[in-house]
Each structure stands twice: as C-alpha cells, then as structure tokens.
C-alpha cells in the first residue's frame, strides 16, 4: 500500500521537486508552503506521515506540530531542520515528533522513515480498533 505523505515547507521549489521524486517511488504526496493550510489538510485527509520544516515564516514547525498532534494524536510527524542537534532532537520528541532530519535530506533515509511512520500508524489504528471491540464485548451482557 503506497504511503500517503504531506510535505510542508516554505521553499516551494524544494517541496515540489522532493514530491516529484517521492511520487516516482510510488508515494501519494501532497504539498503546501503554508502551515495554516497544512492544519486544514490534516483535518480533511488521513496521512501516513507529515514532513514538516521546523523554521517557517507563517508559523514555526513546533507550533504547527503541537496543533496537529492535538487534532490527531496518531499523526506521525517528521521534522526537517537546517541544523540537527541533540537538544533539538529531544525537544522534537518531547513535542511528539516521530523523528528529526537535517537538510539537505537523503531521500533513501527519508523514505525509510516514512515507511516506519506508516507502520507505526497502522499499529496505532489496529490497537484502537482492538480496544473498541474489547469495550463493545465488555459492555454487552451476553
């Protein structure tokens, strides 16, 4: 099953070219340069992974991540940064990011992380479904 990915970065050329490369590798990719639009898109569609730039003029990546996680706690978000440090990595994980990658990103590495994101999301969805079924069975006095 092809991964459904949302790319969010204020550099249009960057995300358009990256999206094209990802599509030739079988991924279903949407793009936006606007974090505010990205927030609407994650409400309307179900993405396996969001690749999100940390530093953007309209709204910074961590702020966007926090709002996205509030709307959908299962959303897997990979942060892109120009300078990946241990401190930034810890801050990103504490905020709920799945991973942090430094630009320029190696596409093979990014693709592997997106595969992991899809797998993680499927596990979370399966667990939620199991919990629902368990609750239904427990609530019925058969």
């Amino acid at each position: 099953m092809s991964e459904k990915v949302l790319l969010v970065d204020d550099e249009e050329n960057f995300i358009n070219t990256l999206a094209e490369r990802m599509r030739t590798r079988g991924m279903d990719v949407s793009t936006t340069t606007s974090p505010k639009e990205a927030l609407k898109m994650v409400e309307e569609e179900s993405f396996d992974a969001v690749v999100l730039d940390l530093l953007m003029p309209e709204m910074n990546g961590l702020e966007t991540l926090n709002i996205m996680k509030q709307k959908n706690p299962d959303l897997q978000i990979i942060l892109l940064t120009g300078h990946a440090t241990v401190e930034k990595g810890i801050e990103a994980m504490k905020s709920g990011a799945m991973d942090l990658i430094e630009k320029p990103a190696d596409l093979k590495t990014l693709t592997e992380k997106i595969h992991k994101a899809q797998a993680k999301k499927m596990i979370l969805v399966e667990k939620r479904t199991e919990d629902k079924i368990r609750n239904i069975i427990a609530s019925k006095s058969w």
Partner: protein, 222 residues
C-alpha cells in the same frame, strides 16, 4: 565602563554574531536542500533514460537552470556573511548611514519574518555619513529591532527612518502598537544600556508619533 559591563557587552556581541550567522546559515542550507533535490531528480531522470524512457532535454535544462539559480542565491547569502564577518576588521569607521541600516535590515529580515514582521527603511533625503563603531552599531540596531518586535503585534510592518540633526543622527523605529504598554527605556535589557554608553547614544520614546528614537553622535568618541 566597568569590567563587568565590558564582559556583558562582549557576550552580547557574541550573541548577536551567533544569531545573525545562524540565520544566514539556515538560508544557505535551504539553497543546498533545493540543489540536492534538483540534482537527485536529474539522477532519477537519467536512470529512467537508461531504462529506455527518452530523455526530456527541455526538462533536464530547466533542472540545470534551477541549480544555477540556487547557487547564485546561496552566493548572495555567503556575500552577506562575508561582509558581516569583516565588519570587525576596522572597528571605528565612517559609514553611509542608510547603507549600513539597509544591510542591518537585510541581516535581520529572516529572523523578523519567522516572528511574522516585515522590515522597511525609509531612505533619508540626503546621504548621511557618521563615524561609529560599526559592529556595536549593528548590534544596537538589532537590539532595537528585537525590542520593538517583542512589543509589537505579529503580521505587522516595522519602519526605520533616519535623519541628520545638528549634533548627529536620529534613527526612528516604529510604529509602536497603540495597545503597547508604556515602557521605560531603563527596562530595556542591560546590554542595550551598555551599547548606548559605548556609542554615546540615547534612546527615547515618542508615544504621540508612535516611535522609539535612537540618537547617535556624528563622530564616535570613547
């Protein structure tokens, strides 16, 4: 000035240097990321061509042009970084005020954009030359911009103006937001006070005009 004040001023200078160079390096990284993706796409298309898909020469040419565009763009950032790093070569220098203010805005605009502010300079009607400590002057301008952005509402435009007066120059920052709580200049961070002392400058606030005004002498003396 006391040793403690000099140390605080030096630390402030390092902080300013770090903020500006960090911002420029981020811009260069963005260019590198675009070049990386365009070069990667070039490789993808070559790989497809080797498997039998006829190459789209027009497409390949556009990719090459994109790479050249980003190299030129990153070169402007490196030139900015270079100029900034050389601002300490001759500490006291005569400068064209509008030109150095433009450069200071250029250094600051990415950080300002990330805080949702745009910066503009209204050029003065005449060329104004002052003699000052260039690095501390740029540090002072950044401190003023940083302070005003901290007091302002995001998604607004900050305007700088400058004019010659009999004793030196006035550099005005505004507009201050109407809802701004009245602040005392003495409430500005300590390093700003130290920079004012080094530059022999003063800061005042004109609430009617909605401006913060930095006044500096025409000739540096310390």
């Amino acid at each position: 000035m006391t040793d403690a004040k000099w140390k605080a001023t030096t630390d402030s200078g390092f902080q300013f240097f770090g903020e500006m160079t960090g911002s420029i390096s981020h811009e260069i990284k963005n260019c590198m990321a675009i070049i990386n993706e365009n070069a990667g796409l070039l490789q993808d298309l070559i790989s497809l061509s080797q498997k039998g898909t006829p190459p789209d020469l027009e497409r390949l040419n556009r990719l090459a042009e994109q790479i050249i565009t980003q190299i030129k763009r990153s070169d402007t950032f490196v030139k900015k970084l270079n100029r900034f790093s050389h601002s300490v070569d001759t500490p006291i220098n005569s400068i064209d005020l509008a030109e150095i203010l433009n450069f200071s805005l250029d250094l600051s605009k990415r950080i300002a954009a990330n805080r949702r502010f745009t910066l503009n300079l209204e050029p003065p009607p005449e060329t104004i030359i002052i003699s000052t400590h260039v690095f501390y002057f740029m540090n002072m301008i950044w401190r003023c911009l940083d302070f005003i952005m901290g007091k302002g509402a995001p998604d607004s435009k900050l305007i700088m103006k400058c004019k010659k007066i009999s004793t030196g120059v006035k550099i005005c920052f505004g507009p201050l937001q109407e809802s701004n709580v009245r602040f005392e200049v003495s409430s500005m961070p300590g390093q700003t006070q130290n920079l004012l002392e080094i530059l022999n400058g003063t800061i005042e606030v004109n609430y009617e005009q909605g401006e913060m005004i930095l006044t500096l002498p025409e000739k540096y003396s310390n």
